[in-house]
Symmetry: C2
Subunit: 184 residues, 2 copies
DNA sequence: TATCTAAGGTGATCAATAACATCTAAATGT
DNA sequence: ACATTTAGATGTTATTGATCACCTTAGATA
């Protein structure tokens, strides 16, 4: 229909990115269509290409949005408080997080598809991993970033497997085991 | 063409499953088409439905094949030797494994899609996780299966993130960190 | 053993859905 | 005011999982 003002266009773009960041985590990247994203953003799919050159470009930016969304758990800046970091760890391997795909950590949800995707996707994910590692190293007073990478690997792998095996006794044992034995 | 014997049909089915187990790990479940699987198996895609009711059924069995493939690293039976288990762990978080998608461990490759898939998919994956956990608990003399689940989570998460961030300094630090600090 | 039935595999096709291109009308800025 | 720009609607093409008629023959039956 009609043309929108510049401010409205920026809002549209933000809505598209928010919808994409939510949908790719819920249904996967390949499982998300441009039409779905646009409908979730309140538009028809034809207008999409006024905002992004391709689905691949959208996904690259949406990964960054999802990553930033996860990092908003921490106060802004490069470091993190001890409380934030311990809360991040103890909230990670939980049933609530396992169920919350739309707003969950993008690393376990997207890494496999990102590995097969474009360089831009991996760049966006790498930025998130690097920032999270810094937050954990700082907030938990770890001896180096490698310790933070190993810790993050345990959390990510635990959540991934928990979702993959589905709800039940094994998932319960896994999630409680991670939470209980990882907290340094 | 002509009708095949029962033995030939069984071979065809095995070829289809082998092709599917390879392709879903390489390109993901959604990224794999029935036609591709059949071509890889040396047939046309029309004949697929003489063997399986649907792609979903194929994938459920292909996950089991991939899982069994990974478990063939261990000697048959329920337990594992110490050598097998330590070799499994020290070979897991390596660049070679990170690159070998077609024959790699299905857990980091498929869990995210399986989590969104059918119960049968999760059943197949859960069986693999359970068996691997038993092998590790036994072979490494861990104090309980929870320890094995946490170890497996670290390996799986590390490999997943390594692939997601792509080759480079961060991947190197991550893979070497996992290998070096995980070996109990 | 002769016959009939049922089944494996092919290739064409279907309906649904994907990504992407084009078109139209309205808002912008000189 | 008016030419330009462009958001969003409409159309087009390609691909997907699945079904089809058909040809051939393996395997059960009498």
């Amino acid at each position: 229909m009609a043309r929108k003002s510049l401010a409205e266009k920026a809002e549209s773009r933000t809505r598209i990115l928010g919808a994409a960041a939510k949908l790719i985590r819920t249904n996967g990247i390949e499982g998300t269509t441009v039409a779905e994203v646009m409908e979730e953003a309140g538009m028809t799919h034809g207008g999409f290409y006024r905002h992004f050159d391709s689905k691949e470009d959208l996904v690259a930016e949406a990964i960054s949005v999802a990553v930033q969304d996860a990092l908003n758990f921490f106060s802004s800046g490069d470091s993190a408080t001890h409380e934030e970091a311990t809360a991040y760890v103890s909230n990670y391997a939980t049933k609530e997080h396992a169920r919350a795909m739309a707003s969950g950590c993008p690393i376990p949800l997207l890494s496999a598809e990102v590995a097969r995707g474009s360089d831009a996707w991996r760049d966006a994910l790498r930025a998130g991993v690097t920032k999270t590692t810094k937050k954990l190293t700082d907030g938990l007073n770890l001896k180096d970033e490698t310790d933070a990478l190993v810790l993050l690997s345990t959390l990510v792998g635990g959540l991934l497997i928990a979702r993959g095996v589905g709800e039940g006794a094994l998932q319960d044992k896994l999630l409680s085991g991670i939470t209980e034995r990882v907290q340094a």
